[in-house]
Symmetry: C2
Subunit: 408 residues, 2 copies
């Protein structure tokens, strides 16, 4: 059985994801599709709309065959570490290819750019440092350095968010010598960050989330843009847990924690930069909402998402000592869900998986999963009782979601 | 001007407190009454119903002339440390006497018992240790040891809560050589722990709180038992902040914090005893409410109030290193409120106060007050926005409450 891997967040799963999943399977000539998906907190430093279980179910019902959790250690990270973790999981799960969506759609440009930047690495890094010294954020500095060296002229536009991610995937595959063929699918119409719906059936996850949280909007307003299975799962989630998760729900807890902790404790938190602590603590006292808080701590030097990730780390009490040095490879495959085909594939692969497979929490050493479990606990914390308890306990009791019956 | 001191929590201020305040003034022949009052968290390890500002106002309107905050370092403590802190503040504020309510009502018995226990200290301590080894809580061991030595026969019943507190006050005055005359007033009718109203106008604070939080009860149901000024302040508080504070409001935050922290971090918390951590962390995962949590962690060895105090310390992130060794004396007088007479008294005493007077937060070194400020922040944290912000900011901006006009 041939497997293609995709790297996803599905927040929530929409028609663009469906297109990408189908095209990936096609481009790879794959029998099954394996998704490595961020858990409850995402790369942009946000809680996912729905829990990883609900999102895994969306993926399975729309055609994914296996869903593995991208551990917290990689998920709430910059693009480079995110890519390293995700690629290592796809490689370990036996995928023969990785297919990502990009604005470019031309895989040669990715491979070319990786080789080019590798070759000019010294000059490139020097330019990156230079632009950071000027007060630019890291992603901005990367993009400026890329321009300085005239590397963008051959066509890969590294100011586009999906091209950046794709580049990181490609770089990780090459530099870590992963046995994965690289494939890319051009993204359909809606831009990654588009805030408003821009076509009849394809809308960015950003615009879907925006619609969900807009006043007067109801869940069915997004129905043109998501598969029916997504809508059902979302309706069910709302009924069961009362709300979709968003930062403002966690703000009372982030604020409480910041009001409670000392500056030296804050310094221990991962991604809390030297000199940022005092502004963060003062803003925590004064800000009434998460948005106010973010507005009052932002600077040119740090991107909004970088600061949001730091906030997630404060919220989850994730420390430098447990995150550094940044890992290059995951150490387990946590299975969130499988289709019938996925189950068969796993059975066949059992002996040759590159990492230990974890499908039940109790049977596995808790230590390795400590961060993911903690993230799941904190993710549930913002719900009222008894929903909080229900979601919290799923982390311990939920077996991998199993979609019975063959798709064909 | 002659001042009598009282040690109080006023949670809330009721007719029994009014009686005690008037009798104290009378017994001491005092011109003014000085109350040292627990801040936002109380000796029993609970959040106060209303903030320290609202409770200080209750005290002033019912006849107290000065209200000082008993710092967190002493307030959320066992009876002995609580007494040491409160007595040190009354001594520093220039009181000539301390008058406490007791079941006994006979001051000679207190003085006699202090001398007796001091004389037989070695045997007494040995018996205390013996009873603790048997798994008894500390207060229980004290009471059993007292009985073992036949010391209770001369009349002071140290199983009564107000006698215990009074004994600790008397012991602190004697052992620390405080220049305070000891006086006691017999408590009227209602027992300290009585859960139901037991007379026409006097009810314990416990029964009043119970009534407040009982279903179907309204604020005016307690009006026979509290001065009109208390009722007004409570009505106003409820209107302004939406609720009276209780543990269940803080439970989501305590739970969140416990789900977030590591066992070694929990060990650093003051009053977290060796071996209790694992039960506490496991119970935090499983308990849906604060009450369930307390039920699942309680043991014979630790009293309920002792465990509640540990919970307050977890909630406020109060560590062993900042609390040990247990202090014997406060280091500042934080003024919460004053009457006209209180203001005149303070002006006269200015040069001879035994500790620095703090009446504005900005003008004082924050470090000394760090714990009290943190407690105030956490106390506000459980309210929704914008009430949370309003209460939080009072800690920084509220000047001492000043009751204009002479009482006479």
């Amino acid at each position: 059985m041939k497997a293609v891997g995709v790297i996803v967040e599905y927040n929530p799963f929409h028609n663009g994801h469906l297109y990408h999943l189908e095209k990936s399977r096609e481009a790879a000539g794959a029998d099954i599709a394996i998704a490595v998906m961020s858990g409850n907190f995402l790369q942009r430093g946000e809680p996912a709309l729905l829990s990883k279980w609900a999102r895994a179910e969306m993926a399975l019902k729309a055609g994914a065959d296996l869903v593995f959790e991208l551990p917290y250690k990689f998920a709430v990270q910059n693009a480079e570490t995110f890519a390293d973790g995700a690629v290592s999981i796809l490689a370990a799960s036996g995928c023969s290819s990785l297919c990502f969506g990009s604005e470019s759609g031309d895989i040669d440009k990715f491979n070319f750019t990786v080789h080019l930047l590798d070759k000019h690495n010294e000059a490139y890094q020097e330019r990156v440092k230079h632009h950071m010294r000027d007060g630019n954020s890291y992603p901005k500095a990367l993009s400026l350095a890329f321009k300085d060296l005239g590397l963008g002229e051959d066509g890969l536009d590294l100011s586009k968010p999906n091209n950046i991610l794709g580049y990181q995937y490609a770089k990780s595959v090459h530099s870590r010598h992963r046995k994965l063929e690289l494939l890319t699918v051009e993204r359909k119409s809606a831009g990654y960050h588009d805030e408003y719906f821009s076509s009849e059936t394809i809308a960015s996850a950003t615009s879907i989330r925006k619609a969900l949280f807009s006043e007067g909007k109801v869940l069915t307003d997004i129905k043109s843009y998501v598969p029916g299975t997504t809508l059902e799962i979302m309706e069910d989630y709302k009924k069961t847990f009362g709300a979709f998760h968003k930062w403002e729900m966690y703000w009372p807890f982030l604020k409480y924690r910041l009001l409670q902790m000392s500056a030296p404790e804050l310094k221990e938190i991962y991604e809390m930069e030297e000199g940022l602590e005092n502004r963060v603590m003062l803003s925590a006292i004064k800000a009434g909402t998460f948005h106010e808080f973010m507005e009052s701590i932002k600077t040119k030097r740090y991107t909004w998402t970088r600061l949001q990730r730091a906030c997630v780390h404060i919220l989850t009490n994730t420390k430098k000592e447990e995150m550094l040095p940044q890992p290059k490879s995951a150490s387990y495959l946590r299975l969130l869900g499988m289709s019938e085909e996925g189950r068969i594939y796993l059975n066949r692969q059992k002996g040759s998986l590159g990492l230990p497979l974890i499908s039940k929490l109790s049977s596995s050493p808790e230590e390795a999963l400590r961060q993911d479990i903690r993230a799941a606990r904190i993710y549930a914390s913002a719900l009222p009782h008894p929903q909080r308890q229900k979601l919290l306990e799923m982390e311990y009791t939920q077996p991998p979601i199993y979609l019975k019956g063959s798709r064909a």
